[in-house]
Symmetry: C2
DNA sequence: CGCTACATTGAGTGAGTTCAAAATGCGTGG
DNA sequence: CCACGCATTTTGAACTCACTCAATGTAGCG
């Protein structure tokens, strides 16, 4: 599109924005991982047979702002995030773009490339990061050799599909407040699973990027953060978030509410029958 | 044309609402299909080896209003639509529900069940329909025997993921008019591919269902149809649609527009590969 | 320091929702 | 066959949430 391949974004991601305990990217730079290590990252249970596989998967490092793949680029590898934070962006026919996900440690991306052998979206590093290249051919061949691995692959793809469905559902039915609350809950839970603090963390993305992801404007995101702050649900200062009332966020809705009244009534009727 | 067999819902789907050339469901009732027939339906290219497979897949018929599977139900089969129209519905923790897709001939559904071995959404027949049961175990075993088939399976799953991504993108960025226009374009193209008229067709779903799918209220859907009618883009009478200006629908946007200005500017900045 | 990107906050507007009422279409039961 | 009942659709009027436009504040970097 508009390739200006020089300078990575100026002052994009200060150290202060790193997560507590963020593995120092440069020092831990690893070059290869075994199949077992990849499966562990993806939270796939491994059998001994799989654990024995000696195939190695290459790591690649990207700096903040760098693009991992572009739209239309020929597909041949899937990616697993080992460290760092990314975004995936879809750009429609009219140049409108929309953020689809914020992959982080243990997430798989690039799956959309399988269908037409071209990536349908682009992936960009939000921070310096380390990703593992999974040549798709090799991966599916391993799946053929190890049925449990194969079904795990299907499982991971299915999980991705469910994620997108849940996203679509959220965009279709929740208010701005509810969307932002869910986003915070999601981040909190993910950070918790990754061993960081689920209460205090730093956002890796701009208000604009959050807005694009949630189908809102950056101003609405900012205002909603401020509102949560005043309500005592969180404390927010720029990218730094401190969750004070997790439960309130988790149960927040303020939904358009009556959109489905009749349909629900009908469903109740049918359930009774 | 077709005698309505005592459908549970009263006056749910009148004969007038059937598509031109709709295969007569009762008469063509088929009990089993070969792997090749299933692949053809799914638009998967088949090799001779696959064409030779003698495995048979069972058909099941559902009447309008019947449920194919529920949320939480144990997963063991995928479904391919042979005829008729369905909807898939996700219901969130608070009972809010959202329509995710309207599967029709050649579509696969149930993929979301793979991950947790339970369906994550429910599927309901909008019209009488005929679906093919694909036991997932059997399907993946066949994939292992025929690598081309396996990669086709991955391809179909990837296609589903892209569909959801595109949906999320649309819900996040398009105006009500643009969403409705896209919906009509989508239906028109699908009907065309299925050999029906892409210009004149009957909607198989209510305004409420369309609204749920598009993240709008039923009133907005109705008003938008009326507006398109007055603009001369379509002619609409209840469920009957006649598309007059396909191109205008296809290029319609009325997008929030400035949401991504800054981000686009930033996108010009690209780091070296 | 000044530059640039990012974030916050305010005021006004508008697209889409909510609530309400009337019209249409279809099946059922008299 | 017609009248009634029910689901659905259409249309109107008022409201409101989120967007737009704009100004100000903050943080890091050259």
């Amino acid at each position: 599109m508009i390739p200006d391949l020089s300078s990575p974004r100026p002052h994009a991601f200060p150290d202060a924005a790193r997560p507590i305990g963020d593995p120092s990217w440069q020092r831990t730079a690893k070059l290869w991982s075994t199949l077992k290590e990849v499966c562990d990252l993806l939270r796939i249970p491994v059998t001994t047979a799989v654990a024995m596989q000696e195939d190695l998967f290459q790591h690649v490092q990207f700096k903040a702002g760098q693009r991992i793949h572009t739209i239309g680029q020929p597909f041949d590898v899937l990616y697993v995030v080992n460290s760092g934070f990314l975004k995936t962006v879809m750009i429609d026919a009219h140049g409108n773009d929309q953020i689809l996900s914020f992959p982080m440690k243990g997430d798989l991306f690039g799956v959309d490339g399988i269908h037409a052998a071209r990536y349908e979206c682009e992936a960009v590093a939000l921070t310096n990061c380390d990703v593992i290249l999974i040549p798709f051919k090799k991966f599916s061949a391993l799946g053929r050799a190890h049925p449990e691995l194969e079904s795990a692959i299907y499982g991971v793809m299915s999980r991705e599909l469910i994620r997108e469905q849940t996203m679509a559902s959220m965009l279709g039915s929740l208010s701005a407040e509810a969307r932002v609350a869910r986003f915070l809950v999601y981040l909190s839970e993910r950070f918790g699973e990754l061993g960081y603090s689920g209460k205090q963390f730093n956002l890796r993305m701009t208000r604009n990027e959050i807005g694009s992801y949630l189908g809102l404007t950056l101003e609405t995101v900012s205002r909603t953060f401020s509102a949560f702050n005043e309500m005592g649900l969180i404390s927010v200062d720029q990218r730094a978030i401190d969750i004070k009332d997790f439960n309130a966020l988790k149960t927040m809705r303020r939904l358009p509410a009556s959109r489905n009244r009749k349909e629900k009534a009908a469903a109740a009727q049918q359930a009774a029958a």
